[in-house]
Symmetry: C2
Subunit: 625 residues, 2 copies
């Protein structure tokens, strides 16, 4: 510990305070599974009683999905320098197919470990990583295919159900029929269903054996739609403390996975801090770091350098790797006439390498070697769309769809090795071309989960691309996309700060939830119903608490009506005390109730008669004498 | 003039400076039509030359639709206390079917005019209004149906084309085929097409003869998708100067029409200031003001009070009235079991009135009397959806669709009087139920333009409802909705401030443009293509200028890389100087060009062969020796 300087520890101490304040109106709960160490974290939003004026009934607490981890648990003491508790360590050990390594396997990792110049940034006291025993395959897909339900699968099943069985109120339970476009939506998620989906390749449960701190989650179109938040520093910005803060901030607002896209210095150490403190799966794009190792000269990349990077990161605990193995030499010329060429960083690196060497990339030629590494740690593939369109004009072109077909071929190879695999998607796509992306992905990739960036539905709004893309994200989520990679307002312009991260996550939580509603996911509408009931009954605090961002909702309300008294007031801040449609509606309801049901029916019958009369007279407006 | 106190004049002076600064990189242009006083305002975005490295070519200026009016014209001196020049005054006079009134016709208007207590807020020096000569019908629909192309129609035709004929560059002209769902999208908009659409009732051109300051615009699904911004004070907020500022601010960012939803005091005077200074059509909900006249007691409303309010506002120049005439007594009980009852203010007022009097509202029973007023000033109907759903649970229910059917009947009556009519729509609707709204509206209302609020696709994001609703708005715009009423981040929570207005408008400009792209509106993609080309070529300033909000784009960029030098830098601010996909892509392109086309083709052929080989070997990954 003496190696870690006080500066970084102080910074990490500070941030742990600023981003872990309680979420207003919520409490952390844990639902126990089949064994006492299987405790599934959820968030429960407490509601107040309906005002007497409107009926005075109790309102049940609402359970919501909660990726924020121990940071929002008042019973847990956060020590970033120690990392989170290894929730899954025992489950991993129990399986008996892994062993602790005597030393790091990667050259690079070993070099960093003993470099005194890195003492001031190194994460203190990490245990040595684990690896599969010789010949073992430790992926969740491998267990699933052998019919084994792991504790991780059970965790996920409990988590996905969100205690929907406890919601009995008819008003809260009501939901419109969905349109699921062929998805197999379940009324209740069982551990067996989770296993079966993973076995079929229709879902992935990314959890590297070296990331035992992670709370299991699942990505697949028959489950809740997930979102990913990108963080990461670059040569021109950011430091370790700031990135860890962004991680905690991201999951606080609902990020289901986080990708660390760092490209600057201390990339290895930053990642270690992030993983040790992350309750959500962490993804990376290993080629970024590999490129740093050859000082940015793409053509000097080699399989050996890349392989060492994969092992380095796998032993740190990265849960999924974006690998741009579909960028084939023959697709590269197809991008030459595009408006924006190749915009994926990974894609452009590989394209440059392919052209420089005039042969297929080592990602493609060594794909099975990569598989061997993945299955020794249970790292999932996120097969990268290196040729995704960077503008509306380039959407759905030959290069993009050519690569997608190759990703489909690679998926089958990955599955041969029982490696969990998802597929990355575009990018920039106008609305009328979005569905074709989803449909083609399902066909080409055998229903492997789709994981898309946006898509952005227009190019003309720099500064607002969280919105241009939330539109496309909601639609492709509805059509079947399993995870939506967020876009922040800074996209195309700069690196997101904390508020940008929050804005991006909110836009994507909205998109994902809108998709779940449209698909008819069981219970998706409960929270909408509860919030709307609270809104109607002027339970302002409940409305704030049930929202995705209680803090902002309350702050906005207070800008107009800052007095506390107004939060119980029976009028909304838009219309003032004497002119509120909610209040008038309540009057109407009281009036109707006063008349009795018979009166209401009589009105209806009488009016139906008059209406018939009206139509009989040639639809002239009825006028009383 | 001496009646107007210096305080308000000073305020209006100040705001005229703060919201009229030039839009960066743009200049105002005017395209002349068939007569010298028909000069159609547009905005031209000037582009710089492509850097020599990337080809060095000239980039043409891009013309964009511009509702900002004279405020962004450096040749015009703005004097809010004098109002804008009456652009259409001569066209109206020339038609010879109107006459100047000797005095205001409404009781209320006359009372305000001579009340010395209002001297400090009254708009100075307005000329007396005009009205149709006895028996005349002065609506654009009436001219259209007689085969007359008005200067307003010609103005609209030129405006809608946005000088697309000048765009010759193949890269800029490229566009994906759209899916228009039965809309009649034209390659070129002719004045005759505008006339025909208005005659059929498929489009409206809202321009009251008493609002000659307005620049003609059209609302219909075969034209560009429009957006509306709501402004207005209430009992708890805002003043005249602030509302005028919001108007100018709204149109600066792209509001096509503005609704003044004021409910506070000085509602009459506020409206006068707004209309006199508005180059866009102004809509109102007259029942709000009528209710103020009876001190908020809905049941005391009468046809006489409402009639006087309509005339008062029509003579001020309001261009369209929201009239909730479809709230029938028989629909009211259908809302009693809703989660959020009746949320439309107008709808709840009328429902309360109907129940109190146990008969149909005066809006319904006097509908033809209302028509008589509308056609004397050319005020368009916006038939209000008083029973729109206020939450996801209440979407597409019997009350909502019952009212829509009644609005269809009323549309036919309005059309009998040649009154321009559009239909208001929801509200809160999950994605899978949106299309049904559009399809039903087209059928029930004979293709009259649909004008929707959102719809919001989930209830759970108070503070972010500009996003929940932009998703729905983009989709319904694609399906055929003609105008999208914006929602700001403050929806459900408070009154929007200036930044909220901007955020709301941006979200809706995005939705409308995404809809135009998806429909395949001719030329819709030009701006996307130009911006993406600029982005690819590192023409940062051009990228900012071509965006919907150049100021925010530049500010965001400067947060990361504030130095001016970086705006010409050949790397983007996300990745730093040595690691940029755009730069790498350019290298790839140069490399490919160096190899010559033959080489690229050879690569392709060679790879195709290898690919065939690969497949023949059972799709095992190709490995070099």
């Amino acid at each position: 510990m003496n190696a870690v300087p006080s500066t970084l520890l102080q910074q990490t101490d500070q941030l742990s305070e600023s981003v872990t304040r309680p979420i207003p109106g919520s409490r952390k709960i844990h639902v126990e599974g089949s064994r006492p160490d299987l405790r599934v974290a959820m968030r429960e939003i407490v509601q107040t009683r309906t005002p007497t004026l409107f009926g005075g009934e109790e309102n049940p607490p609402i359970t919501v999905y909660d990726p924020s981890g121990p940071y929002t648990d008042p019973d847990v003491t956060i020590d970033l320098a120690a990392g989170l508790a290894p929730l899954r360590a025992r489950w991993i050990e129990e399986r008996g197919d892994t062993e602790a390594l005597p030393a790091l396997s990667s050259m690079f990792g070993r070099g960093r470990e003993h470099d005194p110049k890195l003492d001031h940034v190194r994460f203190p006291g990490r245990a040595l990583p684990r690896v599969a025993k010789a010949g073992a395959n430790v992926t969740q897909m491998h267990y699933a295919r052998r019919g084994i339900v792991t504790p991780e699968m059970e965790y996920v099943a409990i988590r996905e159900n969100q205690r929907l069985d406890l919601v009995r109120d008819a008003l809260l339970r009501q939901q419109h029929p969905g349109e699921a476009f062929g998805a197999h939506i379940q009324q209740v998620i069982t551990p067996e269903f989770v296993r079966d989906e993973i076995a079929r390749g229709r879902a992935i449960l990314p959890n590297n054996i070296n990331h035992p701190e992670s709370e299991p989650m699942i990505i697949g179109r028959n489950f809740l739609t997930k979102i990913n938040a990108n963080i990461g520093n670059s040569a021109v910005s950011s430091g370790i403390a700031e990135e860890v803060e962004k991680l905690v901030w991201s999951i606080r607002w609902g990020g289901d996975t986080v990708m660390d896209l760092s490209t600057g210095k201390h990339i290895h150490e930053t990642r270690e801090w992030i993983i040790r403190n992350s309750p959500v799966p962490i993804g990376t794009v290993p080629i970024y770091q590999a490129l740093e190792k050859v000082d940015g000269r793409a053509e000097e990349l080699t399989w050996e350098i890349f392989r060492d990077t994969l092992i380095e990161q796998a032993e740190q605990g990265v849960d999924y790797f974006t690998i741009h193995a579909g960028v084939l030499l023959r697709y590269v010329p197809l991008t030459a006439k595009r408006v924006t060429g190749i915009v994926s960083r990974g894609g452009s690196i590989m394209a440059k390498w392919c052209l420089a060497h005039h042969r297929e990339s080592f990602l493609y030629t060594h794909f099975e070697d990569i598989c061997e590494i993945m299955k020794a740690y249970d790292v999932a593939f996120s097969l990268g769309d290196g040729l995704r369109p960077g503008c509306i004009a380039d959407a759905n072109d030959a290069a993009q769809f050519g690569e997608l077909e190759t990703l489909g071929e690679l998926t089958k190879i990955a599955w041969k090795h029982d490696i969990q695999t998802m597929i990355e998607g575009p990018g920039h796509v106008p609305m009328q071309l979005i569905k074709e992306n989803m449909d083609k992905q399902l066909v080409e990739c055998g229903e492997a989960p789709f994981y898309t960036l946006g898509p952005l539905t227009t190019d003309i709004a720099p500064g607002y691309d969280h919105i241009t893309s939330a539109i496309g994200a909601a639609m492709i989520g509805w059509y079947g996309c399993a995870m939506l990679c967020y876009v922040t307002p800074k996209e195309h312009l700069g690196l997101p700060n904390r508020e940008d991260v929050r804005d991006g996550i909110m836009a994507y939580k909205i998109a994902a939830h809108a998709a779940d509603l449209a698909k008819g996911h069981p219970g998706a509408q409960v929270r909408d119903n509860a919030l709307s009931k609270a809104r109607f009954e002027f339970r302002w605090q409940d409305q704030f608490h049930l929202g995705l961002d209680p803090e902002k909702a309350e702050a906005f309300h207070d800008e107009t009506l800052p007095k506390d008294a107004h939060k119980a007031a029976h009028f909304c801040s838009m219309c003032g005390p004497h002119f509120c449609s909610m209040k008038i509606t309540q009057d109407v309801r009281d009036y109707a109730a006063g008349q009795g049901v018979e009166a209401a029916q009589a009105i209806e019958a009488g009016m139906a008669e008059k209406s018939a009369e009206f139509r009989a007279q040639g639809a002239e407006v009825y006028r009383p004498g």
